[in-house]
Symmetry: C2
Subunit: 162 residues, 2 copies
DNA sequence: TCAATCTAGGATATCGAATGTCCATGATTG
DNA sequence: CAATCATGGACATTCGATATCCTAGATTGA
C-alpha cells in the first residue's frame, strides 16, 4: 500500500509552479534538474497533470508547464489522483461468493460490510487531501524554508523559465 | 496504492472467528476452504495475526486459531496493520536535498510540508479504521446477510472446528 | 507409543505493477 | 530552417504481491 514516487514529484513540481510569475513556463528538463529526478519519467507524471487539466502547456523552445488555475483552487487530492488514479486502496474480490453454504441464486444487492468500512476510511483520506490547497502549501513552505534558499531557488528557476 | 489481498482474507477470517464459541479453534485448512483462497498463502496472513497477538493458536489435530480477545476489543486497524504493515502510503525520498541551490550545510530539522500533509491524510485513514471493531462488523453482518445463510455457515464451520 | 494433523517459517517460482529509458511525431520558437 | 518542446508508444528492469512446496517441531487421539 504505497503511492507512486511520481506523486511526490508532482506535488513538488506543483509547489514550484505555484510561485511562477504569470505567463511563464517551466520545462520538464528544468523541473527534473531542480528535483534531481529522471526527466523522461517525470514527464509521464506531468502528462498526467496535463490530462487532468491541472496545468497548461505550450510547445517549442521556451515552452513547458504552468498551473492552469490559481494555487488556492488546486487541491492535493486533485494532484494525487491525476498521477495515482482514483481506485480505492481496498479491492474487493467478492470472496463471499466462495462460501460453500451459499445458494447459487443469492444475489448481492450491495457491497459487503467489510468493503463498506474500508471504503469509508479511504473517503476520510480523500477528504483530508481535498481540504488542502497548493496555496496552503506555499504558506507553510514560507515558514519552513530559509528565505535565502527560497530566493536562490526562485532565481535558479527564473533563469530557465520560458 | 492498494492493500494486499491478504487484508481482505484476514478481515473475513476474523469475522468468522468472532462468532466462534469459546474454546473452539479453526484451522487454516477450514478457513481457506470456507473462503475459497489458497491454504498456504492464507497461512502467511494468519501468522501475521498471530505475531501481532490478535489470535491465539494451538497445535496438533483439532488445533488452529481463535481470537485472542473479545470482538469488541479488536479494531479493523489492528487487523489491517498486522497483515499489511505500518508504513505510510506516502514515502518521502527527500528530493528537496537534490535542490541545486541548496547549501550542503543546511540540515532538515523536520519533514517537509508535503510529507506532513500526506501523513495527516494517512492518520485520518487510520483513525477511521481504529474506530471500528469486529463487534461492529458482526452487527452489520446480522442485518446484511440472510439468517439462514448465517446459520448454515455457522454449522459448516462447527463441523470442522477443533 | 505412534501416526496424523497442526502452526511456524524458510526457499523458491511466477506475475504484474512501478520504475526507468529510448525514440518517433508534430508543434512552436527564434 | 534548426533547435526545443510536449506527447505518447515501445520497450527493459526492478520489486513487491502472489503462490507453492517443503521441513521442523508441537500436540492430539487412537
Ligand atoms: S469485502 Fe465483502 S464484498 Fe469484498 S470480498 Fe470480502 S465479502 Fe466480498
Ligand atoms: S515530501 Fe518533502 S521531505 Fe519528502 S521528499 Fe519531498 S521534499 Fe523531501
Amino acid at each position: 500500500m504505497n503511492l507512486k514516487n511520481q506523486v511526490e514529484w508532482a506535488l513538488h513540481c506543483c509547489s514550484v509552479m505555484a510561485s511562477l510569475p504569470e505567463g511563464r513556463y517551466l520545462s520538464t528538463r528544468s523541473l527534473s534538474e531542480f528535483h534531481g529526478v529522471p526527466k523522461e519519467y517525470l514527464g509521464k507524471a506531468l502528462q498526467g497533470l496535463s490530462k487532468a487539466g491541472l496545468v497548461h502547456t505550450t510547445l517549442g523552445p521556451s515552452g513547458g508547464y504552468r498551473l492552469a488555475r490559481p494555487a488556492q483552487a488546486i487541491t492535493f487530492l486533485e494532484v494525487v489522483e491525476a498521477v495515482e488514479g482514483r481506485k480505492s486502496t481496498f479491492q474487493c474480490s467478492e470472496i463471499r461468493a466462495n462460501n460453500p453454504c451459499r445458494p447459487k441464486s443469492l444475489c448481492d444487492d450491495k457491497p459487503c460490510a467489510v468493503a463498506r468500512i474500508m471504503w469509508r476510511a479511504d473517503e476520510a483520506w480523500r477528504q483530508t487531501l481535498a481540504a488542502v490547497t497548493l496555496a496552503d502549501l506555499q504558506e507553510t513552505l514560507q515558514e519552513d524554508v530559509p528565505a535565502d534558499l527560497l530566493k536562490r531557488s526562485f532565481d535558479w528557476l527564473m533563469e530557465r523559465a520560458g
